[in-house]
Subunit: 203 residues, 2 copies
């Protein structure tokens, strides 16, 4: 199921439909963008009518593109994952390997934050759409693995770490309670983890 192009905006869904008319694609992209903001700020229960309004389209248009709230949530979520994985490449190009890794992990925290907000809907989606979990978690861990290996290869972090160990450490963020200072706490966890990774590095 190939996506046929991948701009900064979300493209059509995975199934290979005939391409949308230009205006339709524009509206669709705008809807996803606005929805991503709204879900992040107001949670998954954000008003769909408000999303349509802010996207400058009628409610009918929203429903034509996304027949249910879950459809919209899924697309937003996949877009989030897309962005996260894409960022890995950019960061690697623009920063020393260890800095790239650290920045990426910070961004990973933001991603988890989103995921928390979407939790209820995601649970529904994950039971419905069985490919969603495997698709996304695979891509994310692949992105992280490449950053870690690059950092290790360049000598910026120690070479004896396994990507899945780091993933596991970050996993602590998942299970942490939902306190107000969750965000700061997670940021510190990333820093701490980086210190550990840098300790005893060649470079």
């Amino acid at each position: 199921m190939p996506d046929q192009e991948m701009t900064t905006e979300a493209t059509r869904g995975a199934s290979a439909q005939k391409p949308l008319r230009a205006d339709a694609q524009r509206n669709r992209d705008k809807l996803v963008e606005v929805a991503a903001q709204m879900f992040a700020s107001d949670g998954v229960d954000a008003s769909l009518e408000e999303i349509a309004r802010r996207a400058g389209v009628g409610i009918g248009t929203l429903y034509r593109h996304f027949p249910t709230r879950e459809h919209l949530v899924e697309v937003v979520y996949r877009r989030e994952v897309e962005g996260l994985c894409h960022a890995a490449g950019d960061l690697a190009r623009e920063h020393p390997a260890d800095v790239a890794l650290e920045l990426w992990m910070q961004r990973f925290v933001d991603y988890i934050a989103t995921k928390r907000g979407l939790a209820t809907s995601l649970r529904v989606l994950l039971t419905t759409n069985s490919t969603l979990f495997s698709d996304t978690s695979g891509r994310v861990s692949a992105a992280m693995r490449s950053l870690i290996e690059a950092a290790a290869a360049s000598g910026k972090i120690r070479a004896d770490v396994d990507a899945s160990d780091v993933m596991h450490a970050l996993g602590g963020i998942y299970s942490a309670p939902n306190t107000p200072d969750w965000r700061e706490r997670s940021g510190r966890l990333v820093k701490l983890l980086m210190d550990g990774l840098r300790f005893g590095a060649r470079g």
Copy 2:
């Protein structure tokens, strides 16, 4: 947590509040009764406004008694269980022990049917209200056990059966697929089971 009386209608919830005013109790009972019908016929997503309308009260009254849909579902469900267990005693009094058992199992099938309709909401409730499952399943299996033991003691069914085995057999009803002929199929299962139980009985 004693219920202070138990008529054919649902009483107030378990917690020992001061008694409701007569009109309030009347309205509450009527709401539960109507809700039970509506949930059975239309599923848990039945309109709450319609329930209030048919019960002859304002929507505000419904919401005062049951702040959320789940509250109402829970009360209806507990009432269902109550009725089922109560029926065991009545049937035992009015019929030969084996007939009582058979009739009760038929009624059990109806109960399961309700449970299916309420499935989605029940799943939410069972994660929230941890006592609900243990309360109800305990009472139901106790009711069945007493019927089986009475039938075995009177010689109407064989004596070498274990109540939990029968429960287990009926459990097949749960896992059966949701086909349109589900009801008939289940009825036949009960008959079959009874034949097996009667085979080789003393009496």
